[in-house]
Amino acid sequence: MIPIEAVIGFGLIIFTIGLAGVLVRKNLVIMLMSLELLLNGVNIILAGLGRHLNSPRGSIFALFVIINAVSEAAVGFALVLAYFRHRKSYDTDSLNELKG
C-alpha cells in the first residue's frame, strides 16, 4: 500500500521542478515542456487521491487535465511557430513589444 503523503509529495516535487523551469528558462520550447511537467505533477496527485479514496473520479479528472494539456501544447506550438516565422528566434527577451 502506497502512503498517500508520498504520492502527494512526489507530485509536488514534479510540479516544483516544472514551475522553476517555466520561471528560469528563456527558451520558449523548454518553457512549454516545463508546463507539461506541471500538469503531470497534478495528474499524479489526482491519480493518488483517486486510489486513496477508492473512487474513479481521480482518473476522470486526470483525463480532463490531459485533454487540456494536449490543447495547450497544440496552441502553444502554433504560437511558437508563428513567433519564429516573425522573429527568427525563440528568446523570450525579445517578446517585449507590449511592454509600456
Binding site: A20, I60, I66, A82
Partner: protein
Amino acid sequence: MITLAVFILFAVLAVVAALLVVIQKNAMHSVLYLAFTVLATAGVFFALQAEYLGAIQILVYGGGIVVLYIFVIIIVNLKEIVPERRGLVPKLFLVGVPVLLCAEVVTLVMRTGFPSAPSGSEGPGFREMAEMLFASYLLPFEAASILLLAVLIGAIVVARRRHIDDPD
C-alpha cells in the same frame, strides 16, 4: 510491498529525468528526458492502479506530444542555443520561490489527517469509471470535444503562413 518498491523506483526515475529536462542546454536532449519522465510517470500510474490513465499517458504523451515537440524542434531548428542571460541571484530567487511553495504545501499535507482509505484493495474498476464518465461527467466530456475542435481551428489559423507574412 512490491507495489511500494515499484512506485519508489519510478518516482525517483521521474524526478531525476524531470530535473534533467529543466537543466539541459540542448532542447533535443530535454525532449528525450521529457519522454523518459512521461514513461516513468506512466509506471507510477500503473503502481497506483490507474491503468487507464497509464495507458493514456503512454499513448497521448509518449506517442503524441513528445513526437510533436521533436517535430517542432526540427522545424524551428533549435541549433543555436538561446543564451541564458540571467544573473545568479535572480536565478536563485526564481528557483527559491517554487521550492518555498512546495515546502509550504508539504507542511500543510503533513498537518492534514487524510481519511483512511476504504478497505477495498481492488481499486476502482474500468466499468465503474466508464459509467461515471459517461453519466455524471457527460457534459464536461462533450465540452472537451468542443475544446479540441476550437484548438484545431485556432492552431491552424495561428500557424498559417500567409497570415504571418502579410502585414495587413
